[in-house]
């Protein structure tokens, strides 16, 4: 893509909602199975978007391709925040602000809860070997800033008391909370949550949902969540994308989606 075209892609046309993520004609296959098949979709900025669909629709594959976990197969293009990120390695996408969580919580088990939160901040000067050895003051000042943010997040997510516990010793629900708190330490522009409510009791699910709504309001983070709990989707999401057979079947508000005959047949059931 040329420079001008990329600049154009970044500038919203008047009266148009900006899309932070645009996936165009993306395909991804495993052997002969096309998990994602010529899929095109847009995720509007500063909103909460849900990605729903039956099992095997390609939702998780899409998340993995978008975040760079599955290497691009040279079919389709992914734009994030105006950049063509299709060939970028995972870490570069993350540094551009595209952060994800995992379907199964993956805490750093052998590290404490607080330490888990200290890993994600981007561009830490103490991550350079030379700074780590020769500039302890610079590193300490930065650590204090990250520490303060981490403690506040732990407080928000009700994990403050658990800060010195090994992450592997947390309960399933607490691991979910940790996963989200940790992702927020990375200052995401777009946060991809892969089934954040899976295996979480209804009360905690409501709590997580409330966190997402508050964060979207306060920080302007764009959320894209894969979710099967349609009650919660209805409650918190501005925008819904339905996937089936590897492509986006329909987009709109939950009410619009419920009225869509195709979607009802493919997913919601008659």
């Amino acid at each position: 893509m040329s420079q001008t075209a990329e600049a154009l892609a970044r500038t919203p046309r008047p009266g148009e909602q900006t899309d932070i993520l645009r996936v165009e004609h993306l395909s991804h296959s495993f052997g002969g199975v096309n998990a994602v098949d010529d899929c095109s979709l847009q995720v509007p900025a500063n909103q909460i978007t849900a990605l729903i669909g039956p099992n095997g629709a390609g939702k998780s594959t899409l998340i993995n391709v978008v975040s760079g976990f599955y290497p691009a197969q040279k079919r389709g293009t992914i734009f994030f925040n105006g950049h063509n990120i299709t060939g970028w390695p995972t870490y570069r996408r993350a540094n551009a602000g595209l952060i994800r969580t995992f379907q199964i919580s993956r805490g750093y088990g052998g590290m404490t809860v607080l330490e888990n939160l200290m890993v994600p901040p981007k561009k830490q000067s103490g991550e350079s070997l030379l700074n780590a050895i020769f500039r302890p003051r610079l590193v300490a000042a930065e650590e204090a800033r990250h520490l303060e943010k981490a403690l506040q997040l732990l407080d928000t997510f009700g994990l403050y008391e658990k800060r010195d516990e090994y992450a592997r010793n947390l309960s399933g629900g607490q691991k979910r909370l940790l996963e989200m708190a940790r992702a927020l330490m990375a200052d995401p522009t777009l946060l991809l949550l892969d089934e954040p409510m899976a295996g979480v009791n209804p009360a905690l699910a409501d709590q997580l949902a409330q966190h997402i709504v508050n964060l979207a309001k306060q920080t302007g983070i764009t959320f894209l969540l894969v979710e099967h709990n349609l009650g919660i989707v209805d409650q918190i999401c501005d925008h819904v994308i339905v996937m089936a057979n590897g492509r986006a079947l329909a987009t709109g508000t939950m009410a619009e989606i419920r009225a869509n005959q195709q979607v009802v047949e493919a997913y919601l059931g008659g």
């Binding site: 995972t90 993350a94 993956r106 052998g110 780590a132 590193v139 407080d155 010195d164």
Partner: protein
Amino acid sequence: MSPVLYYATTLLVFFFDYNILTWGLNIQFGYTGILNFAFIIFMAIGAYVSGVFALPQANGIAGQTYILGLSWPFPLTLIMGGLVAAFFGLLVGLIALKRLRSDYMAIVTVAVGAIAYDFIGNVTGLFNGWDGLGGVPQPLQTRFNIDFNTYQFVYVGIAGVVMVILWWLANRIYSSPFGRTLRSIREDQDVSEAFGKNTFKYRMLAMVIGCFYAGIAGGILIFFTTALNPSGWTTGETFVVWTALLIGGTGNNWGAALGALLVPVGFQEATRFLPQFPGNPDLIPALRNIIVGGLLILVLWFRPQGIIPEKKARFNIFRIPLHGAPAEVRSRAASIAASQKEESNVTDG
């Protein structure tokens, strides 16, 4: 010098040397989770390279053939050994770390170790082949013309200083954000990648630093023994270092040091001088391996984290400004700070 003192100082040098070696492996495995089963190769490279930088040009003395022979002065020879070992760590890392993880990476390192062993043994022009290097000049020995007995103590000092520097460095790395990122990669490489860490770069750095440690340990060894041949760094030696680390405690440099004291120094070196059983010259080494192996099994079974396990990261959360923190957090911080003050008053009084 009494034989006991001579023996004790010798063991001390071996202990210092194995500390460096075990910390190097700890940086690779304990911090970062890299399985390097060719670790001893990097020690050998460091030893040989230090040796050929210190030795004079090979002119057929005692029939030795080797490269370089530059007669460089001491600290430079040691540093070159470390750097060249680190460079080979980089090369092996490029092969083993780019696409491979855990088991497959380990297989590659085993293969690399076997190749290097046979290569160095058979290419006689490199480091004098299977006979190895001998007569390596000892650091500062010729310049100050120190007598043999005093030199034992001088060398304990040299090895000690190098060890203390590398101890400081290893711990500095561990507690820094750099070390934290290494440990996060050990815990879950994918997650770290998803947080924007170039995990390949970090694993390479850990590989290179660990191999630098191994190279320095090699240099310290060859300058002490003045000779080294391939029988001194067989594949088995790699597992001696591994056993030391696993028994002592991975991820903890105190643990690694305890492991170095128990396994290579305690079992390997201190039993070296036990009387041999007539007709069974291999009995003592075999018994030694049985004991070390048994100890390893016991530790892995009953205390897999090692004798001195990795410490929890402690953050001094009460020393940071919490102006943005919720009232509850601030009041808790204040009350704890007050109680700490009381305690210190009591001890002062």
